[in-house]
Assembly symmetry: C2
Homo-oligomer: 298 residues x 2
């Protein structure tokens, strides 16, 4: 569990035509000091990120993650990332990942605030690290509680400065929600709007099974569009199930025939209890879903 | 404008009885790499901060800032800071500040996530740097726009995991609101609740004058309790004015006899326009207020 790898990425313009990015990627000691105290990522949580699962050295759904990084950049008025450069960074990091499961993290920060010269443009880096054994969450499942996100369903479209569809580094609330879930004896949380609709988990998407239909809250700006949820929906459709995006009332959770929290590293975790009440678990389907998510995917 | 100073603080327990903290404070090169990529401040905006104004080497309202740091730590389940240690860090940083105005920033982070060993406890640092010339904002004033914060007045008490009373590093929304204000031709923003009450500016408190009474939104969890607002209220009371905390409807802004955004570094900036409409400015009172805020205060 002790290997770890890090790369500083010197961002180039989105339309930079070069095809070799080697001299924009600098390998560093992942445990050594690397970032200045002037970093706006650390002072303001002002930047964006992606976490990519890696299985036996193969990074999963890279295209979707880099597309979402670009979407987050646009919502945050950050310079558009160069997709080919980030692909190169992911490939370089993936090459360091041993057999088994790892995670690659991409971070694009607003940059460094320097007293002398003002802001000098974005900074960026990528890390790769081993991941803890997730088999418990994938088989035994997780206990979840619903938590009020304080926002109504209309907030995202009314107030784009709330950055609700961007995967920013400002995750203090997400982390606090996970601590609150643990205080309540659960493992994870599901955020609800004040008008009673399902949003997402602090670091995962919610998928609900209703008979033979699988639904997830529509990603219309109020939540992130989950890359793993997209993959799971493709797989479900390929296996004859129907899937859909809905404006999902909280009551739909309690009535679910099954529920999962899906994310890039933990993959599909069946929800066994919601706010203390039992939920049905389909162990066989969950195992097949995770087997699919552990197969190489682009 | 190019000097800058930074200290790494090795946090000690809140009840550590020592009185000399010198060997817990390490001066570093403020522009050199100092933080690891595993920093949770940078990965998750997971930490808290304070910004302290410094005038001619005197740090202002240190007690109130360190008390608020402790309050934020409590809301974020971070270990309680050792007040004497942070005082020592502020004193050490203030000793480096030249004549004129400077700013000291204190940061307490969740710590570094290490693959090998898990979380190892909080990390912390302090910086000092020059501040830009703020005389324009203090005399000519600022144009403000109101922006929907997406949250209702009850959110803070209903959902403490939203951390609304904590000064966390997760400021991406605050920064986005300032960009939105600039897009609208203004300098700053004032957040409103969805039910139409005044909250705060992204990096300042709002004070409204109504006749001879000065009011600010009550800091009941939904906003930070401004250290500069507290100072201004003391000064106003000492000068025969009455002050109060209110649940302040947005309409009170348009009807104000004067309005200020007050904060530790910019101090008191009169609001000249709100959502494009002129507001009365009391230049004399504003000048006196800023003269007070520029005098040494503890």
């Amino acid at each position: 569990m002790s290997w770890r790898f890090a790369l500083i990425v010197a961002p180039v313009a989105a339309d930079d035509p070069r095809s070799d990015f080697a001299d924009t990627l600098s390998v560093i000691d992942p445990d050594a000091p690397a970032l200045s105290v002037g970093e706006l990522s650390t002072q303001r949580g002002d930047g964006i990120f992606e976490t990519i699962g890696v299985v036996d050295g193969h990074p999963q759904e890279v295209e979707a993650h880099i597309a979402r990084l670009a979407h987050s950049a646009s919502l945050c008025d950050l310079p558009a990332p160069n997709a080919a450069q980030w692909h190169a960074a992911v490939d370089r990091a993936a090459a360091e990942c041993p057999a088994g499961e790892s995670a690659i993290k991409l971070i694009l920060s607003r940059g460094v605030e320097r007293a002398a010269t003002g802001l000098e443009g974005p900074t960026a880096w990528a890390t790769a690290s081993p991941v803890a054994d997730m088999s418990g969450a994938r088989t035994t499942g997780v206990r979840a509680v619903t938590l009020d996100r304080g926002l109504d369903s209309g907030a995202a479209s009314r107030a784009p400065w709330l950055l609700l569809g961007a995967k920013t580094l400002s995750y203090a609330v997400n982390m606090a929600a996970l601590r609150e879930a643990r205080r309540r004896g659960a493992d994870d949380a599901i955020f609800l709007t004040t008008d009673g609709y399902v949003l997402e988990a602090p670091t995962a998407s919610v998928i609900v099974r209703r008979g033979d239909t699988f639904v997830t809250p529509e990603p219309t700006g109020g939540i992130l569009h989950g890359t793993t949820q997209l993959s799971v929906f493709d797989w479900l459709e390929d296996n004859g199930h129907s899937t859909g995006y809905e404006h999902l009332p909280a009551a739909a959770l309690a009535d679910a025939d099954a529920m999962w929290l899906v994310s890039s590293v933990r993959l599909a975790a069946p929800v066994t209890h919601l706010d203390g009440a039992d939920l049905p678990v389909d162990a066989e389907l969950t195992a097949a879903m995770n087997a699919y998510l552990l197969s190489p995917r682009d």
